[in-house]
Symmetry: C2
Subunit: 365 residues, 2 copies
């Protein structure tokens, strides 16, 4: 059971609290900022790559430089020192990013500037997802019911935000660790809602649609069947969900996590499927942290169907996780061939890396 | 005038020396390695992204761990301590990478392994380009005639390697600086020759072809005309070449460099065009290093037409340079939205960053 409470911050931003228990309706949304959010972003067309780029120049002016001991994602304990979330009984909190790269159009906002390429309003939405009130926790360390709730939250946000006019794609993701640029260690993720289907999901949609038309089934659906039969790279295999190092991994410790049955997104998961998907996710994250007995940094992205109002029978909810290490001491740098050509070169075989992760024993709780 | 001398190393790899002066034909190619190169790589198909990934597992076994003071790209001075290049009068050296991510098929090599996805031999070619004999130099610091020679070398390599069976794309690039993973500071670049047109050039070719069919001219050709007319982001404008921060920059200090007249690649440049392109490149690299009075790391990739035997009137030789910094002290991390969605978010406007670079005065020599 998921309870939620929608609140508005003093600066106008939205905060939604989620819990497995009823939430005290008297809770009030704090904000470290008093003045109203005045975000604006615009898109410019990249004529060589055929894609949009977003510019949010006001983000440079982040005047907000908290002292290291100040954690804006911790519950507010002093009225004269408000954080982003209130004290009280809640499990997961979601609020509008104060420094969004994409922001809803506000009435009276300036139109996008005239440029030598096409421009457009940077209409979209960026949210911060606080995974837990415990600043020392990690996503993988949370109890299974808490991870299940988070998956419900991701589904609720995708429906709420994805149903807004002009939002075509919703991407929940987590950047974890200083190696991927994160300076705030309180467990949290982000949600980006885009006014277009972005290049990577667009490419995957195109490939999946072509496969679906030719084969009559989804490409990930078929791949999961083959990975299960092959078995060599599996990390978790439950009744409804799997996790594995894909045969075509582009990062040494890349892992995919998915429900076995294709569904469009988190909101379409049944209770048992979601529970098993939570077990798969927790298994992978505990293996990551157990690998070298230290928190492993990673980028985790959850791909769902576009929210463009079209049917997407080819879509299949899944996560792709990319840790930036290739060995315990060596980072995998993306350089010439990966960045400039988009052609990934791997020194390690996925079978070897899968074996390393298979040998990490974990206990679910 | 370009002179060259082709040699074979003791381990079978090819070394080509280039110079503006005749080269002593008695020079002998050294190698730090005695045993023959036994490289093999295989490709696996990524069914979700619709692209190939290359696996060269033998690269992990690099037993060659030189002491920090040993520079394999410096000229050999002691017969008992061979480097990759000989002492003697030469300006630029190109040799087969000892640890290639893609390698030509050798007779008797194992076929690619059977997998649950399509596999193929990792047939391709990886070369190292030593820009100069001076380990303390930098590409931007080299004299203009030396940079012109390097552009001739890039053209010669593209023709030599691109004409081989099965090579569809040749990419010269430079990764510079520890921030992009480079540990060897002797000025050098690499050349990757691919058995397919890789995803990024393939996407750019597709976009350029569509534009060419509709507009009757190249998309970069049009963009250069517009950037010159707009003028705000120009860094160099000569009779035959330009450099500018593109209106759609995805990295704060991104710069493009191109001949004004569209040509397919380095080999198609006239002498005056090449000379002006060298001035444009040197201008940009000196501005980079002058920005904060320290060597600025960057990835530089030179895009040419595919070597697939098809005509490519839409192609337009150009470089894209991506420094990984967004301010003097802050790296730009590629994270959720860039890596997972392919959707770039910028805090800075290209006009502001162009102004910073415009204000760096440089003297060409």
């Amino acid at each position: 059971m998921m309870h939620s409470l929608e609140l508005t911050k003093p600066d106008g931003r939205r905060l939604t609290l989620y819990s497995r228990q009823p939430i005290d309706p008297a809770l009030v949304a704090p904000s470290p900022f008093a003045e109203p959010l005045n975000a604006s972003a615009h898109l410019r067309w990249h004529p060589l790559r055929g894609e949009w780029v977003t510019y949010a120049a006001f983000r440079q002016g982040r005047t907000f430089l908290p002292p290291p001991e100040y954690n804006p994602l911790a519950a507010t304990t002093r009225a004269d020192n408000p954080t982003e979330v209130p004290a009280g009984a809640w499990d997961v909190a979601v609020f509008d990013n104060r420094f969004p790269s994409l922001a809803a159009l506000v009435p009276g906002a300036n139109p996008p500037p005239q440029m030598i390429v096409a421009t457009a309003p940077g209409a979209g939405h960026c949210e911060v997802v606080v995974f837990t009130q415990d600043p020392k926790a990690s996503l993988g360390g949370l109890p299974l019911p808490h991870i299940e709730l988070l998956m419900q939250v991701w589904g609720d946000r995708t429906q709420q935000v994805g149903s807004r006019d002009g939002i075509e794609y919703v991407l929940p993701f987590e950047n974890r660790g200083a190696e991927v640029g994160v300076t705030l260690h309180h467990p949290h993720g982000q949600i980006y809602a885009y006014p277009v289907v972005p290049p990577v999901p667009a490419r995957m949609q195109q490939v999946a649609q072509e496969h679906f038309q030719q084969a009559g089934r989804g490409v990930l659906d078929l791949m999961i069947e083959n990975e299960r039969r092959d078995g060599k790279r599996m990390l978790y295999e439950g009744p409804h969900a799997v996790a594995f190092v894909p045969v075509c991994a582009r990062y040494p410790y890349e892992v995919w996590i998915a429900p076995i049955k294709p569904v469009a997104g988190f909101a379409q998961l049944g209770d048992e499927e979601r529970a098993d998907l939570a077990r798969a996710l927790k298994t992978v994250l505990l293996k990551y942290d157990g690998l070298w007995d230290r928190p492993l940094p990673y980028l985790m992205a959850w791909y769902q169907a576009p929210t463009d109002g079209q049917p997407h029978p080819e879509s299949h909810l899944h996560a792709q996780l990319y840790p930036p290490y290739r060995t315990k001491d060596r980072l995998k740098y993306l350089a010439g061939t990966e960045i400039a050509a988009g052609f990934f070169a791997m020194d390690a075989l996925p079978e070897e890396k899968a074996l390393e992760l298979q040998q990490v024993q974990v206990v679910l709780s």
